[in-house]
């Protein structure tokens, strides 16, 4: 059988960065092909080249035996190629339904006005977006935006679906649901290409999996074989590989990182024995909906808290409230004895609370280095330089590219930049929302390694994380939010001891 999609020695460079390096790959009919690889390996670039958003420097793309290299992305979409964007790009001022309608009415298939509404409604329903159909897409939180990406791609009635990390940031039950959706799609589309850092999705959905690194194909084979490959384990999977031994960390490197991280740390002397952060009976209401319903908790200096919960439970609202980015309907939040309710986000940062937000606002007009510096504007020049070096020691790729635009990075690299920027203000408390979003497993290992060092030096942290095991391994205390309330709280060891209880709370 001939391949549905065939890429022949594709090379794509962005300036000096070679994102794809004479890559050849085939997608067979009926196949779901997984694509994995470290952050910046060229996975999203691959989808861009197939979809037509990016023009390769050389090489050709064939769809159904026809060379489509010269076609516009609109024509490719009409031929049946549907893709999603890793960092979602909804039309923010259109409603969710209109976003889907747009795709439905511009696909290669004619759809009459009468068929349109049930068709759009069906897609929204299937992806759980129906309740938000009439909201403007700009109001959707990140994970629903990812769903909307999928909804729009489906509305094209595609023959081939290219999905770029739609499973990031989901708790287990949600991942299962997504896997069910993907499996049900197998009968509707001819083939799929799935980029994921969530190995559950890869191992349960993909027939074959390709591994990319530095724009080159490392291997492509049946999924179980690929995941068991020791090369893939060391290159990509890190500690989550089946074969992984307790990772032999390079002690010298670790000590080096620790030493340089001290400049990122400014631990205030405890004022008294009062908690560093006190959240008291906080309510937040959006429109007619209560996102938080009387949340109270304390954070002690140097304490690390894991904030767990399903999507829509209120974690992001909590993080945003701590950052001063949403007004409290009632209740108080005080930091180091001072109330921060009503302060602007920059004033909150100035007090020593940094945040790494889920929506990560990376400035494309600023270079990577300037983006970082924007995180710690107040510091003196030599302090800034020290902190920059510290961040660069955690994420060397940022140093290599420091003069490039902040958005000229892969999705995972932008997440690294966001984490680095949050650390640049040398905070006393950092709030990380969806910290491992878009990071490859091995990059997550590294980030947690650095977080461990930062925690040990006395910085308090609140970590919102979907990977329960990772978060609990780091945290001193964990809380589960569901439907705007804290429903479970305890030491990681207690929660881990009763995994069933925990999973029932996580929904």
């Amino acid at each position: 059988m001939t391949a549905v999609l065939q890429l022949t020695s594709i090379t794509k460079s962005y300036g000096g960065v070679r994102a794809l390096d004479s890559l050849s790959l085939e997608v067979a009919p009926g196949e779901v092909l997984g694509v994995i690889g470290p952050n910046g390996a060229g996975k999203s670039t691959l989808i861009g080249v197939i979809g037509g958003a990016l023009t390769p420097n050389s090489g050709s793309v064939t769809f159904d035996g026809r060379d489509i290299s010269k076609l516009s992305s609109a024509d490719r979409a009409r031929m049946g190629i549907g893709r999603t964007y890793q960092i979602p790009r909804p039309f923010t001022r259109m409603t969710v339904a209109d976003n889907v309608r747009l795709a439905a009415t511009n696909s290669g298939h004619h759809i009459s006005q009468r068929e349109l509404e049930p068709f759009v409604g069906g897609i929204l329903d299937r992806l759980g977006l129906a309740p938000f159909a009439h909201e403007t897409a700009g109001k959707l939180p990140l994970l629903r935006r990812k769903r909307l990406e999928l909804a729009r791609a489906l509305a094209l009635k595609p023959r081939v679906l290219l999905l770029d990390e739609i499973g990031a940031g989901l708790v287990r039950a949600e991942t299962d649901e997504l896997i069910t959706i993907i499996q049900s799609l197998r009968t509707e589309v001819e083939s799929m290409v799935l980029i994921e850092h969530v190995m559950d999705v890869i191992s349960r959905c993909c027939d074959r999996t390709a591994v990319l690194d530095f724009g080159k194909l490392v291997t492509v084979d049946e999924t179980p074989k690929v995941l068991a490959d020791p090369v893939v384990a060391s290159l990509y999977l890190g500690s989550i590989a089946d074969s992984a031994e307790p990772t032999p960390f390079d002690e010298d490197k670790r000590a080096g990182i620790r030493a340089s991280l001290t400049s990122l740390v400014s631990v205030a002397k405890p004022v008294s024995d009062a908690p560093l952060l006190a959240v008291d009976d906080v309510w937040v209401r959006y429109g007619g909906l209560n996102a938080l319903k009387g949340v109270s908790f304390d954070v002690q200096p140097g304490e690390c808290i894991a904030l767990l919960g399903a999507n829509g439970a209120g974690k992001t609202t909590m993080a945003r409230a701590l950052a001063g980015a949403v007004p409290l309907t009632s209740g108080t939040i005080s930091f180091a004895g001072k109330s921060i309710a009503g302060l602007r986000p920059d004033e909150v940062t100035a007090l020593g609370v940094a945040q790494c937000m889920e929506g990560r606002k990376i400035f494309g007009t600023l270079s990577i280095e300037e983006n970082l510096i924007a995180g710690g504007l107040d510091a003196r020049k030599h302090v800034k330089a020290e902190r920059l070096e510290a961040v660069y020691s955690i994420f060397p790729i940022l140093k290599q590219r420091r003069k490039n635009s902040g958005t000229a990075l892969s999705g995972g690299q932008q997440q690294m930049l966001a984490i680095g920027r949050a650390l640049m203000s040398a905070p006393t408390l950092v709030v990380f929302d969806e910290i491992s979003l878009g990071l490859s497993p091995i990059a997550v290992d590294e980030v947690y390694e650095a977080l461990g060092a930062i925690r040990d030096s006395g910085v308090a942290m609140i970590i919102v994380e979907q990977s329960v095991e990772r978060a609990l391994a780091l945290a001193d205390r964990a809380m589960v939010l569901s439907q705007g309330e804290i429903t479970l709280e305890g030491m990681p060891s207690e929660l881990l001891a009763d995994a069933r209880l925990l999973s029932s709370y996580l929904g």
Binding site: A77, F91, R93, M94, N106, T136
Partner: protein, 322 residues
């Protein structure tokens, strides 16, 4: 550069749905406007003409700029094409209505011809590129032998009376409104908004962005040209500096921004505001433009969505919180 433009465009409100109700309201308003010449004097008819003329221009411009993100400063080019087409065609003895249609066709063809070069430019670059259009046409008209040079062309047709002009302007205003409403009801409305908000994503979802932009730009230009053709009748003489003058462009943009870009009603509110302000300051021509400038700056600073956009947003908020 692109950012500055996207900041401007990000302030445009998304158009609300268009229903049968909108057409009924338009019909009712048009019926009221129709009787004005029976109850009001020449002066009122002239003011009415100005309001209808400016409103139609701004509403037509809005199709490209407000809904599709093609912020053009080339309106005077289309306007001038309309002015000259009317002069030449009516002097050749064609009936007035045919001259107007011809003006629209000429403008549409002009859009088609300039689009390959212009649509290569995005955002602010596009805007700057359109600035050249009117000037290029003006120079062409001055220097070629067919258009009467600087002196211009006299229209041989009988000069219409004030009430006739008023009714023509009213008919054209209704035409523009109906075009906008029909467009907003159609699938083009999503395409246009999508192209405005993120052209690359629109294309990835199957929208033929070039075609979409061409339709919007061409329709906008054609409607502007029709209004321009009436201006030729109004003046009785057409001249390069009047027809292709930058002041038309400036007026159109001011009206649309003050009223509210990307809204159905904004351009008309803006036109009423600007024309009445002009009448109010008629004794003080030396400060007129300065006042308009100050108002423009104040609106951009304090009402980024224009008068109408701000008003509707406030209404929406009111609804959300109650």
């Amino acid at each position: 550069m692109k950012n500055g433009m996207s900041v401007l465009l990000s302030r445009i409100a998304t158009p609300t749905r268009v229903g049968r109700r909108d057409f009924i309201i338009v019909a009712a308003l048009a019926a009221i406007a129709f009787v004005v010449p029976y109850v009001a004097g020449t002066y009122q008819q002239e003011v009415g003409f100005r309001i209808l003329q400016l409103g139609a221009l701004a509403a037509a411009w809005n199709i490209a700029a407000g809904y599709t993100g093609l912020v053009s400063l080339g309106s005077a080019a289309f306007f001038g094409l309309g002015v000259y087409t009317m002069a030449l065609a009516s002097n050749a003895g064609l009936p007035i209505v045919l001259c107007m249609i011809l003006a629209a066709v000429v403008a549409g063809l002009f859009a088609l011809i300039v689009s390959p070069a212009l649509f290569r430019l995005r955002g602010l670059y596009f805007t700057v590129g359109t600035l050249a259009l009117a000037e290029a046409l003006r120079i062409f008209v001055v220097n070629s032998p067919w258009f009467g040079g600087q002196a211009g062309i006299f229209l041989t047709a009988r000069a219409p009376k004030a009430f006739e002009l008023y009714w023509i302007a009213l008919a054209i205003a209704v035409l523009v409104i109906v075009c906008v409403l029909v467009l907003l009801r159609s699938r083009w409305s999503y395409r246009m908004q999508a192209v405005r908000d993120d052209e690359d994503v629109a294309s990835q979802l199957g929208v033929r962005t070039y075609r979409t932009k061409l339709w919007a730009f061409g329709l906008s230009g054609a409607l502007i040209a029709i209004v321009g053709s009436v201006q030729a009748l109004n003046q009785g003489i057409v001249q390069p500096n009047g027809g292709f003058g930058i002041s038309w462009t400036i007026e159109i943009v001011s009206v649309a921004i003050i009223g509210g870009m990307g809204t159905k009603v904004g351009p008309w509110i803006g036109a009423v505001f600007i024309v009445l302000l002009g009448e109010f300051l008629i004794q003080f021509p030396e400060i007129h433009m300065a006042v308009v400038g100050v108002v423009l700056v104040l609106v951009i600073r304090f009402m980024p969505n224009g008068i109408w956009g701000t008003f509707t947003l406030a209404l929406q908020k009111e609804r959300n919180f109650s």
